[in-house]
């Protein structure tokens, strides 16, 4: 039997630290790719206990749970404490699509004074606090791969990517961080 603690994240054991920058894997999380027309938004927000914002690039956080706006009918819902997101959505009858992508994605936490600069080695978006404030979230690119970027603090970002791209993403962070 395999228990849930046996999750082997692709970045287990990886860590990069240098002056003004820390790159580390996030703890394994439950994730939902949630798609819904606006008619189902209120019911889903209620079922998940978190506001599914309609504002582009917005995010909402409630405890260990977060919902990131990715598109006009798309959210990435993340629960770091193992909450059963599929079951929560299962109570909603209005048309929507909830797909478990807990293992599709993995996440890196990038923090420190130089975090935004290091991200700017591969991300073409304006990551200044004016254009990408704390709480902003967006699908975008980092080098040659797609990521979901979420600014969780003035100097802290969460970077979600598909698991097989995480090695590339981690190595690009290492390379970019060497550029003082």
């Amino acid at each position: 039997m395999v228990d849930a603690a046996a999750r082997i994240s692709p970045l287990d054991g990886r860590l990069f630290q240098d002056e003004g920058i820390l790159v580390e894997p996030a703890v394994p999380a439950v994730r939902l790719a949630l798609r819904a027309p606006s008619a189902a938004r209120a019911a889903l927000s209620k079922a998940l206990g978190i506001d599914l914002s309609q504002r582009p690039k917005a995010s909402a956080v409630h405890g260990a749970r977060a919902a990131l706006w990715l598109g006009p009918d798309e959210w990435l819902v993340i629960d770091e404490e193992g909450g059963d997101l599929m079951a929560a959505c299962g109570t909603v009858t209005a048309f929507h699509s909830a797909v478990d992508v807990s293992h599709r994605n993995t996440a890196l936490l990038v923090s420190g004074r130089r975090a935004a600069d290091v991200l700017s080695a591969g991300c073409p978006q304006d990551l200044s606090r004016g254009a990408f404030p704390v709480g902003a979230a967006s699908r975008t690119v980092f080098g040659k791969v797609e990521i979901v970027l979420w600014r969780t603090g003035e100097e802290a970002f969460r970077v979600e990517c598909w698991r097989s791209f995480s090695d590339y993403v981690f190595m690009l962070f290492e390379a970019a961080a060497r550029d003082a």
């Binding site: 395999v2 699509s97 807990s102 097989s164 190595m171």
Partner: protein, 991 residues
């Protein structure tokens, strides 16, 4: 004596530390802050290279990035050998090793200089004319000769060991150039609170204030003002100040490429410190403060070492404290050279004479020159020069006619005026306007949000320049135009004059226009005589302006000479297009981080590490690494694959199928959407059942395929080919969003959510049974082509009963983070039952034995389902699906189409080459009529003979026919056969 031409108490390097470096192996000493050029000049060295075509001795022309002549190699170590570095840009550092280029055996004595004597042979248009000569002569005679004779530096022969960085940046105002104009613009922009980036290609800000000692701003000498403003800007949070940074390209919507040189000036860069950083800056507004470039005078023998631009001599004097000679002659048509002469004279340097091509010269500078006792010759031209490796005298003649005389000198400084550096403005698609009075192209209509200030915008007055710059800087996005920045008491130097082309027309002489490409005034005249009418033609015919300096000092001369010959005004002859990069950019800077391991993402499955530990060989499939085969001790690939193939059919095999694309199709209209996307019918597919689906493009050709399971009424689990995953999802999203937006369906990629463990073979059920909970695995409860949800090893799983081998088979989908753990459990059960792990090669062989196609191998974008023998997969009663109408196109139903068949070689041991062509008669004349080609070919251990699949014209009607595969060793006879080579009735998958 050390640095004999370094003057005491002159320049700004003063007490800087000495630096030892070598040039062509000879040791020299310079000062910290020197460029290689200034340090060499301090040591009296002018001769630094040989020219491209004629191998003529060449010296230092300029003091900046426009340098056409002084290109050297810089050798840091065995791998770091950079050719064609401008000595005027390279800073000296301890241990710097510079070598001259394009000379053999030595710089002072060069065999290639024979080209100079043979120069009529190399006249304008030489290359074009030579191409028309007999081809054989070109290959054997001319090209090798030219290759030996002409050229620049030598490319490094080892991979570049340096790393390069990349940075995307965003700002309100980007200022290019940090001379007086750029500094003032940046200051004004910064004062509005805007985000400012200020970039300058030099090591220090200041621009022309380096040499313009007559300038004063805010009651201080210009240079001091520049240093104070720079310190102010550097301390501000909203300003990023980048020195040693060239704005090289101006692209759409105010994206400007900058390259920042980080280590070339350092003696010992830190390990892994990037050598250069590419900045891709998006600016709301751009302020170009790129200055102007001085032009040389065009006259016979104007390329000897010791002949340089007046502003360069002035820079070497006023900034670096270096005299370019002891007895310096001046030849000019612009006042600016007079100011250089006066500075030199005051510093104690002898001025042999000031020769001015203009007939009437007056002004304070003239009076001052006369007062200092300098001989001033107006209306005169320099008509020749002498000196083998360094100018030793000039011949001067009145332009109105009369006797000439020879004036000895050890340097000659020249100026024919200034060309505004409009390169970036032009790259921004701004229109240039010709100002006839001053014979300058100036920025005209802007195409983007850009301002040109100072000399690049045509200003010749410092007060006006500062005013323009403050105005432009204040125009920052969002600012209300309130100008807070005050700069007062601006006093600048005022120059006038200038000319284009030659003052005096000699024949048979080398009056160089373009030093780097060795193009003379005579070459340009010849081009016009031979029929070139536009400057674009003249450029290509003579190669003027086509060297690495892109003719920064020479283009206007070339244009003027052509215009004069054509008897047309300059704008009618045209201006060649300015193209990025402004100065050469390394490939490293453009590649950035995308090298080595970061060249492309390498994708690995959750089970990859297990395969690696087992010694698997891997193959690249797109970005994926897939286990190819698992050799046991002593096995080669053939033996390993044969064993794996046998084992799967005898017992079982375990295969990592995680890379397959997966898409979750969810919603009440999911089945309707599937009906539209695939040829097959889906409405009646029961929950828990699977079907092989074929996806077409609208034109009727096969686009993808895969097994689809119905998880619930409103939920399908779709699989795609490994390589097709992203495009299939894009294709489906396209139709859903733009053609069928009313369907209540959403699509989600789950490719990486699931690790997929295929267990195939007669014993597959026995292997997985102990691990599966909540699913009845009996044939009755779970027949071939069904799917169940349950748990495997206690982990939530989707279990498919399906087969790509023709055997009874299962595919276990478990959440990816559990993939390796579950795989190991399956492996343990498999080992007990004689199963093996198998790779992609065995997978390919087994499916070919069954005639299952692989999209992209059996298909190439022109194959229909009928061609591939998949007509059974097309729903007969469907009203619509993508590709349905396309399939009825005349060409797609015409007889004689290439169709998929099996091939059996007459000799069972012969394995055909994939891609080999197929013909009916191997004795026909070449080119033969080709009937098709082999798409897949393997040795089949299970069949005991080779097998192949092929696309053959009219193939379905050729069963039993003998065809031939012509190969270098002779034609191979093959028999057209069924695509199914093994278990033709297809019973084993159910058994």
């Amino acid at each position: 004596m050390q640095q004999p031409f370094r003057l005491a108490d002159v320049g700004r390097l003063g007490a800087a530390a000495p630096v030892n470096f070598t040039f062509d192996g000879k040791p020299f000493t310079g000062l910290t802050g020197d460029t290689l050029a200034s340090a060499l000049l301090a040591n009296g060295v002018h001769l630094v290279g040989r020219s491209f075509k004629y191998h003529r001795p060449r010296g230092i022309v300029s003091a900046g990035a426009e340098e056409p002549n002084a290109l050297v190699g810089i050798h840091r170590d065995a791998a770091r050998k950079t050719p064609n570095v401008r000595a005027t840009v390279q800073e000296v550092h301890a241990g710097l090793e510079a070598v001259s280029q394009n000379r053999w055996p030595s710089l002072a004595f060069d065999v290639g200089a024979l080209n100079d004597a043979a120069s009529p042979f190399f006249s304008a248009g030489f290359y074009y004319k030579t191409f028309m000569w007999p081809k054989a002569a070109w290959e054997r005679l001319y090209e090798p000769f030219i290759r030996r004779a002409a050229g620049l530096g030598v490319a490094p022969d080892q991979p570049d060991p340096d790393v390069y960085a990349n940075r995307f940046a965003h700002c309100d105002v980007l200022v290019i150039g940090a001379g007086a104009a750029g500094l003032a613009a940046a200051l004004a922009a910064a004062d509005t609170g805007a985000r400012v980036i200020l970039a300058d290609e030099q090591a220090e800000t200041g621009g022309a204030l380096r040499f313009e000692t007559g300038a004063a701003i805010d009651g201080r000498p210009g240079w001091d003002w520049a240093k104070a403003v720079t310190a102010d800007l550097a301390a501000r949070d909203n300003v990023r100040l980048l020195t040693r940074t060239t704005g090289f390209g101006y692209y759409a919507q105010n994206i400007v490429g900058l390259v920042e040189r980080l280590t070339d000036h350092l003696a010992k860069p830190a390990p892994e410190q990037p050598r250069e950083r590419l900045w891709q800056v998006r600016a709301k507004r751009v302020v170009l403060a790129t200055g102007a470039i001085e032009r040389h005078m065009v006259f016979a023998g104007n390329d000897r070492p010791g002949i340089m631009l007046a502003s360069a001599a002035r820079t070497y004097l006023n900034h670096f404290g270096v005299a370019v000679g002891r007895n310096v002659a001046v030849y000019t048509a612009d006042d600016s050279a007079w100011l250089a002469a006066l500075d030199l004279k005051r510093a104690g340097v002898g001025i042999a004479a000031i020769v001015d091509a203009r007939s009437e010269i007056r002004g304070a500078h003239v009076e001052e020159a006369r007062r200092l006792g300098i001989e001033c010759l107006e209306g005169h031209a320099v008509t020749a020069t002498a000196g083998r490796l360094r100018v030793s005298s000039i011949q001067v003649r009145p332009l109105a006619g009369g006797a000439g005389r020879v004036i000895p000198c050890d340097a000659l400084i020249t100026s024919s005026g200034w060309t505004p550096a409009v390169h970036l403005f032009s790259q921004s698609r701004g229109k240039l306007a010709f100002e006839a009075e001053t014979q300058r192209f100036l920025p005209g209509t802007s195409a983007q949000d850009v301002d040109c200030v100072g000399a690049c915008g045509g200003s010749i007055d410092l007060a006006q320049t500062i005013e323009q710059a403050l105005e432009a800087g204040t125009r920052a996005d969002g600012a209300q135009g309130r100008r807070a920045t005050i700069v007062k008491d601006v006093r600048g130097e005022v120059w006038s004059g200038g000319m284009l082309g030659t003052a005096e027309t000699g024949t048979g002489v080398k009056a160089f226009v373009d030093f780097q490409n060795d193009v003379t005034a005579k070459d340009i005249r010849q081009a016009v005589r031979e029929g070139m009418r536009s400057i674009e033609h003249v450029k290509r015919f003579t190669t003027t302006g086509m060297a690495t300096d892109q003719g920064k000092t020479s283009n206007m001369h070339g244009l003027a000479i052509a215009a004069e010959m054509l008897g047309k005004p300059i704008p009618e002859v045209g201006l060649t297009t300015f193209r990025a990069p402004y100065t050469p950019v390394t490939f490293g800077a453009l590649a950035g981080h995308s090298r080595g391991a970061l060249f492309e993402p390498v994708r690995r499955t959750p089970i990859h590490s297990w395969a690696q530990e087992k010694g698997a060989a891997f193959e690249d499939v797109g970005q994926w690494k897939r286990a190819w085969y698992f050799p046991e001790a002593g096995e080669d690939m053939h033996a390993a694959v044969a064993r794996e193939c046998r084992t799967v059919r005898e017992s079982a095999g375990i295969f990592d199928a995680s890379t397959l694309g997966k898409i979750e199709v969810v919603g009440p209209d999911a089945a309707r959407f599937m009906e539209l996307m695939y040829t097959n019918p889906w409405a009646k597919l029961g929950v828990g059942r699977c079907r092989y689906g074929v996806m077409l493009r609208e034109d009727g050709f096969i686009y993808d395929d895969g097994v689809v399971g119905r998880i619930a009424e409103d939920r399908f689990h779709v699989t795609t080919t490994t390589g097709g995953a992203p495009r299939v999802l894009n294709h489906m999203e396209d139709y859903l969003q733009t053609e069928f937006p009313d369907l209540r369906v959403f699509l989600t990629s789950t490719s990486e959510q699931w690790a997929v463990i295929a267990v195939q073979g007669p014993r597959s059920r026995d292997i997985i049974a102990p691990l599966v909970d909540g699913i009845d695995l009996s044939d009755a409860a779970m027949p071939h082509m069904s799917v169940r949800e349950g748990t495997v090893c206690g982990v939530p799983a989707r279990l498919f009963r399906m087969s790509f081998t023709g055997e009874r088979g299962f595919e276990i989908n478990v959440p990816a983070d559990y993939g390796r753990t579950v795989w190991e459990a399956v492996w343990a059960e498999g080992e007990k039952r004689g199963a093996c792990a198998y790779g992609t090669e065995t997978m390919h062989v087994l499916r070919a034995e069954k005639g299952f196609i692989i999209v992209g191998q059996e298909t190439d974008g022109t194959v229909t389902p009928q061609d591939a023998g998949l007509i059974w997969a097309i729903g007969k009663n469907k009203a619509d699906f993508v590709g349905m109408r396309g399939l009825r196109r005349a060409d797609l139903v015409a007889p004689g189409r290439k169709q998929l068949v099996g091939l059996r070689t007459k000799d069972p041991n012969t394995v055909l080459d994939e891609g080999a062509q197929i013909v009916a008669d191997p004795h026909q004349a070449v080119p033969m009529t080709m009937l098709g080609h082999v798409t897949s070919s393997y040795w089949s251990e299970n069949c005991g003979h080779s097998i192949a699949l092929a696309l053959v014209a009219g193939g379905h009607d050729r069963m039993g026919e003998t065809l031939y595969v012509p190969m270098p060793g002779g034609a191979i006879a093959v028999e057209v056969a069924s695509t199914v080579f093994f278990d033709e009735k297809g019973e084993r998958a159910n058994g």
